[in-house]
Amino acid sequence: MKIGLKTISALACTLCVSVAVGGSAYAGPDDSSLIIEGQNIATDVKAPEGSAFDQLYSGWRFRATETQSLQEDDFENPAFVAVDQAIEEFHNVDGSAGKSCADCHSDVSDFKDVRASLPRWNAKTNKPETLENIINECRTERMGAKAWKWESTQMLGMTALVGLQSRGSAVNVQTDGPMAEWFERGKKLYYTRVGQLDMSCAHCHENNFGTMIRADHLSQGQVNGFPVYRLKWQGLGSIHRRFKGCMDNIRAKPYKRGSDEFIALELYVASRGAGLSVETPSVRN
């Protein structure tokens, strides 16, 4: 039996709204469809061959209606405060070269589809790069500016703005060639039990997605919507912050944001969402 307590406005609500008492049935993803600004967002797609899933579902499909609706309208989406700030930052001159982002990238929409294929291989550094890496490389190499911290307001805003240019594009990361080794590394991390509570990513997000773990509706752990505006955080957060949160919950010592381990895991998890639309910046609880 399920009792819905839909009393609190979704913005103020930091807890999930459904109360399950006495062993309710599998709740699964819901069957809502997501259209933003007239654009169709694929929140479920048939899983590619070799996937652990039959069907891939965006985390959006596991959220309460109130939370979902916040993402359906950019004026309601609380992440757009940061996006607007990032548009200003994009034109802000910073560093010894006296340049802004806009001096090289005249229109931010030049970044269309970039987010969909990240992390991608960087032959110069000889490792995969995330959007944070790409932005900081621009800042340090071309602008002569200081690198932004991974979880800084500026970095989150800029990854949201750049990522937004790929909204609606299908996730498609390279996993072969030089990426293969990193893919395997990420896969190994995904299936390794960690922490005193002794669970791997797969225990919750592969074997038990769709069920309630206390007040949380377990999703497939897809990362197509990052950076995400999380109501619990009252702000944007990176993929690596979310990884850290999971590891903390399991009483494990998290890897550092930007570490090789988290980059490998980001690659592997991104590959598990191949075909889902980029939703950046998404809203979750």
């Binding site: 109360v19 062993g23 669970m199």
Partner: protein, 159 residues
């Protein structure tokens, strides 16, 4: 179910005069590494005594302790919000499992249930890699807490 196994275990136990040598550092309490599993069951109380039902009910619900409601629904605690669905509901669990089987599941679910289970092992020192510093060398629950939860679980019967 496992009733055949229970019978076999009971017969086996009857033929063994004393099961489990006491753990040195834990006094009368059995140390995590010294818990004896026989046929995936643990017949001897970890503390040598019966647990306390009321304490066990609290440990069961406490999010920093058993946090059992994270995964298991339990009508006896309907006053608490948010019962999980990951594991089976525990209503009537005492009708389905003997105490020795329940104790084994609590102590080390990977032995008692299966090695791939999501369920934490509540009285085992060696868990996942990179265990956070403040939990290294510690079990999720103490021996006393395991016995208390067990005593509570044994009250969960379908009438």
């Amino acid at each position: 179910m496992k009733s055949g196994k229970y019978l076999a275990a009971a017969l086996l136990l009857a033929s063994i005069s004393s099961v489990g040598l006491s753990g040195v550092a834990y006094g009368e309490t059995t140390a995590p590494d010294a818990v004896k599993f026989v046929d995936d069951e643990v017949s001897k109380s970890l503390t040598g005594a019966a647990g306390n039902v009321e304490s066990g009910r609290k440990v069961f619900a406490n999010r920093k302790q058993g946090n059992c409601l994270a995964c298991h629904a339990n009508k006896d605690l309907a006053s608490q919000p948010f019962h999980g669905e990951v594991g089976p509901p525990l209503d009537g669990v005492a009708d389905r499992y003997e105490a020795a089987a329940l104790r084994a599941i609590l102590v080390n679910s990977k032995i008692a249930l299966n090695e791939d289970t999501i369920m934490p092992s509540f009285y085992r020192l060696k868990n996942g890699v990179r265990t956070a510093d403040k939990f290294v060398g510690k079990t999720v629950l103490s021996a006393e807490q395991v016995e208390d939860v067990l005593a509570y679980l044994q009250t969960l019967k379908d009438e």
